[in-house]
């Protein structure tokens, strides 16, 4: 019998699951088994309540009104910014945390501001084969416009970056884009090691933290990257808001991204004077309620502790890899690193020759929610030699019992397709 309480890691999963209303639902007559947190995580009551309470008592536009609730709204919005900054160890959270729509927009912001300022025809960018489209396409768009070339760090068959040739690859490169954790393979990349080599070669490092920040302790003061983008909705927060952290000294000289209100100090017929950090990069009314929600999500994660969450997810990933291997043997192929400590709680797999769509469809009949598709990582899919994979991903609220349900439903899938 799989335990609900992960006592070893101080995580009372049974109790904390009660914070997540959606997890109490049934799907197709079965209790929901939500294994798609890498796509979007569920929200605890604490987040939902914080957003509703703000909307019901305090909402007004920020940085504008001088009346009471407008001041309070501004105060709470900026407090959320500082809370998020502290959560990732930002040295100067009040200036370096830029709110965006999501991680994708954050990466586009870097391409459009830092990229347009510093990248010129003939320059090179270095990416990895395991990037999400969000850290590929903005660079391809800029490369097309600016006649840049893109190089790629390859991966080995276990889904780890091949770094033997890094010094040669990075030579002459102005920017390195790298995911902290692959959304397909779960691979945790040595961002710090890569950043050291990249910085020695004079390159700036842009990291995609969409998968890592929600699940691992993150400290940008030691991580090594220069920019880090992530999304609230993968870390128990709402959709519609993401974060870009950048080093103050890199952000300060950059031109604005989008133009409009909020991002200016002055506008005359002849031109405009951009605002200071961080508002220069936040044109228009920002997602205020969502920022409050993100602040509450960060508070929730910190109360539990990122170290405990990571330990729980390693334990769960270990259990899942062992269970699936024991029950399905060679019928299942799990992509990515074999050592659970070298990966996050993301398991992409191929089950026999059954298409991931079909796997996911049958699993749904048992209330099991997994992602099927290319996971917005088509270059990686091509490297793996597949069109799509099925992917189960874990968060702090998942249990060994969820893994057992997945395995049972997979067995039914196998039986169905004979």
């Amino acid at each position: 019998m799989a335990g609900l309480i992960d006592v070893a890691h101080g995580l009372d999963v049974e109790t904390l699951r009660k914070d997540f209303p959606l997890l109490a639902q049934e799907v197709n007559g079965h209790p929901i088994t939500y294994l798609d947190s890498a796509a979007s995580s569920q929200r605890p009551r604490q987040v939902l309540d914080a957003m509703r309470e703000y909307d019901e008592t305090t909402h007004a536009n920020v940085h504008r009104g001088v009346y009471g609730i407008a001041e309070e709204a501004t105060h709470r919005f900026e407090a959320a910014r500082v809370a998020v900054g502290r959560f990732i160890g930002a040295p100067n959270p009040a200036r370096e945390i830029l709110f965006s729509k999501n991680a994708t927009e954050g990466l586009n912001l870097v391409a459009n501001t830092w990229g347009r300022t510093h990248l010129h025809p003939g320059d090179s960018i270095l990416l990895t084969e395991m990037e999400h489209h969000a850290n590929i396409v903005p660079w391809q768009m800029l490369a097309e416009e600016r006649e840049l070339s893109i190089r790629w760090i390859p991966i080995d068959d276990d889904g780890a970056l091949i770094l033997d040739d890094l010094e040669r690859l990075v030579d002459g490169v102005k920017l390195v884009g790298i995911t902290c954790m692959s959304n397909v393979l779960g691979t945790l990349n040595p961002v710090g090691d890569i950043a050291r080599v990249a910085h020695a070669a004079g390159a700036v490092v842009v990291a995609d933290g969409a998968q890592s920040v929600p699940h691992l302790p993150t400290d940008v003061s030691t991580l090594g990257c220069d920019f880090l983008a992530f999304s609230a909705h993968k870390m128990l927060g709402p959709t519609g808001i993401g974060v870009l952290w950048g080093r103050d000294e890199l952000l300060t000289p950059l031109p604005p991204f989008l133009g409009g209100g909020e991002m200016i100090l002055d506008v005359r017929k002849e031109g405009f004077t951009p605002n200071d950090l961080p508002w220069r990069f936040e044109a228009g009314t920002p997602p205020i309620t969502e920022a409050i929600g993100l602040g509450a999500a960060v508070e929730y994660l910190q109360a539990i502790g990122m170290e405990s969450i990571r330990a729980h997810e390693i334990s769960l990933t270990t259990y899942a890899m062992n269970t699936l291997a024991e029950r399905f043997g060679d019928d299942i192929r799990i992509f990515g690193p074999k050592d659970p400590t070298q990966r996050g709680g993301v398991l992409s797999f191929a089950y026999r020759d059954i298409h991931p769509h079909d796997v996911s469809q049958i699993l749904d009949q048992y209330g099991v929610c997994v992602r099927a598709g290319h996971h917005c990582a088509k270059p990686l899919m091509r490297r793996l030699g597949v069109n799509a994979t099925a992917r189960a991903s874990f968060a702090l609220y998942n249990t060994e019992s969820d893994v057992d349900t997945l395995a049972n439903a997979l067995a039914e899938t196998g039986a169905f397709f004979g």
């Binding site: 298409h355 769509h357 598709g373 290319h374 088509k378 799509a388």
Partner: protein
Amino acid sequence: MAGLEDLYREIILDHYRSPRNRGELPSPPAQRVEGFNPLCGDEIVVTLEVTDGTVSDIKIGGTGCSISQSSASLMSAAVKGKPVTEVRDLIRTFKGMMSIHESTLPGKDSQDEDDIEATEAQLLDVDSLGELAALQGVVKFPVRIKCATLSWNTLAQGLDEAESKTESASA
């Protein structure tokens, strides 16, 4: 709630396990068209030969789920040897079977002109679909409709390209 048996009918599983007209015709002379489902990464390759206004041969390549593969297989069997005009009618009827249900789903945008035309065709002639009617259950699983229509859209594109080639050759 729609059951799995609505989606995975025996005919569908049969065509998935033993796809008909599998492969690729040499191109040229055959018309070769690729179709992609950007949602899931499925790819389909339709190669077809049009001789004297008839789809004289067709082969299906690529990879995909049971629904997209069986739909493509059923399609190839249904159109091979048929006049292009009949094939176009069949495409409209099939897409009508898929879109008439799609249009009644909440949150769906209004249909484009093609779909309106298809709906009319569907009202006229559902019975003409024969084995293809097995795919009707797919509409109860809206996410999978694109799987079922992928090969049909690709075939329509292939017919357009084959015809424009003929026109430019005869012009």
